[in-house]
Assembly symmetry: C2
């Protein structure tokens, strides 16, 4: 089934201990859609500038991603520069040029209106809500946010969270959103704001999914998926969005919204995140095979499963 993702397409300058790249195609919607494309049809709503070329379009097209929803505006594409020289777990932003993204108003092409799965990548919560409200056939909405929106647009964010079924954020964001240091307690507070499930991404330690009592099945036990210990993290950029792409992509590929599907989706999220960081930018996500993907899923499984 089709997934619509709304979010950023960007050009990134990235420095890590493994090297540096400039003008690398990136952005949340890019990482998400490439990762999800291995599981489901994906449609992108975003905005780019005049520096977005036919070559860049090809990165999406080669993966069968529908980019009729990428608007071409006058000016430059969103640009971000950051480095991970001291800490691979957290980017130090060096510059942010919003450019055409500053006035971004998502326009949903009519052909996208039947989308059944939606991912609201990290943009202003009011834009997230507007997109959600336009779509009438959505069965499951995934969402992301960040400290910036939690602190500055709390009211709008709470409005949006009522429409999000699965929120995917990290430990720090969860605790900040709940104003609570203990993770399980913070998770319950976040679930009380609306989502039926909360995926907390722990970076190199994997992710935990917390369920609201009775959502997607019986009980409220959390579930954890590991991350693979990786010898060389070349570039952590986009790992979280790739995780979300694997997670929502797998769910959309299954008929049912059950806990077992969401648990497996958590593993596939980890799998896609682990591929993303192996090379700079989206290089690894552009050229995966189904076999590589299933082999990695098995490694993740063996990493935590007792006989």
């Amino acid at each position: 089934m089709s997934i619509l993702v709304v979010g950023s397409v960007a050009f990134d300058n990235i420095a890590t201990p493994s090297g540096r790249v400039e003008n690398e195609l990136g952005g949340a919607a890019t990482y998400f859609s490439l990762a999800a494309s291995y599981f489901s049809d994906v449609r992108v709503v975003a905005v780019v500038g005049e520096d977005f070329s036919a070559e860049h379009e090809q990165v999406f097209r080669r993966r069968g991603i529908d980019i009729r929803g990428i608007e071409h505006a006058k000016g430059k594409t969103f640009r971000w520069g950051g480095q991970y020289l001291d800490n691979l777990n957290e980017a130090k932003t060096e510059f942010t040029e919003l450019n055409v993204f500053e006035t971004f108003q998502p326009h949903i092409p009519p052909e996208y209106m039947d989308s059944q799965f939606l991912f609201l990548a990290n943009i202003h919560p009011s834009l997230q809500a507007a997109v959600r409200l336009e779509l009438e056939n959505v069965r499951l909405t995934g969402g992301d946010t960040m400290n910036y929106w939690i602190q500055r647009t709390r009211k709008e964010l709470e409005e949006t969270l009522r429409m999000v079924n699965v929120l995917l954020i990290n430990d720090t964001e969860t605790k900040m959103l709940a104003n609570e240091k203990n993770l399980p307690r913070a998770a319950r507070k976040v679930l009380a704001l609306g989502p039926q499930a909360l995926v907390v991404k722990h970076g190199e330690y994997g992710a935990t999914i917390f369920f609201r009592e009775g959502a997607f099945g019986i009980g409220s036990h959390p579930f954890r998926a590991p991350a693979l210990p990786i010898d060389e993290v070349k570039d952590p950029t986009g790992a979280g969005d790739s995780f979300a792409g694997g997670f929502i992509g797998y769910i959309a590929s299954q008929g049912q919204l059950t806990r077992e599907v969401l648990k497996r989706a958590l593993f596939y999220g980890g799998v896609m995140g682990s591929f993303a960081v192996e090379r700079f930018g989206t290089a690894r996500l552009q050229s995966l095979t189904r076999e590589e993907l299933e082999a990695r899923f098995q490694i993740f499984r063996e990493l935590t499963h007792l006989e």
Copy 2:
């Protein structure tokens, strides 16, 4: 089979967001032996002062722990004070009074000489080595250490590591010992120093066991066990030693030293660590039932196992 543990018995002053206690029975050998006592016979080699009473002895005796190796010396027992008010993951030490522990020389009672499993808790590496060398029937030696010994007694520690089969330390200690920031690479460097397996404890994120190629079975794939997301960590003191007690205790209870046994042991380590932090001091570890333990093991399993 019997486990001999050598390490500290202490009285702790502890402050956490949940409250504070004074003169609480603690120390690595105490936490370890209580946790391991649910799986195997345990023998303790340690030193205490005149303030160690018959009541304190009873805490060990009620769990069937052999304390003939606890030496009673003139003076006061080792005392430690610390708080976790800002950060439950790391104690801020407020005072350390070594007292009788300062001149501790482990004496192994003749009745202990047939011990087949050994745990060298966190003491001077030369004392660890001396104990290991005295015991001729040991099948598996587990060991712990800390930043203090890594930085100040590197040579002695490397000597000891050649005699340790499974080293149990945390992320920071692993990276410090290997002088390498990437965890899998650091793990390989630590394994090159001697141990056949390395258990890296991640606190609230569980633990990973790395195997030297071919040790305890085929291949060198790591294995991860989760930690339970806990609503209220009352007191993190002793979590790592309780983890080690569950880990070595379970191994000693099994006939074979296989990877599958070590993987299950990693889960039991997590189980005992999760109980330890539920109450102040050793309270929870004193009164567990086999049923509670197995029920928690199942919860840990369900936390990560796909159908």
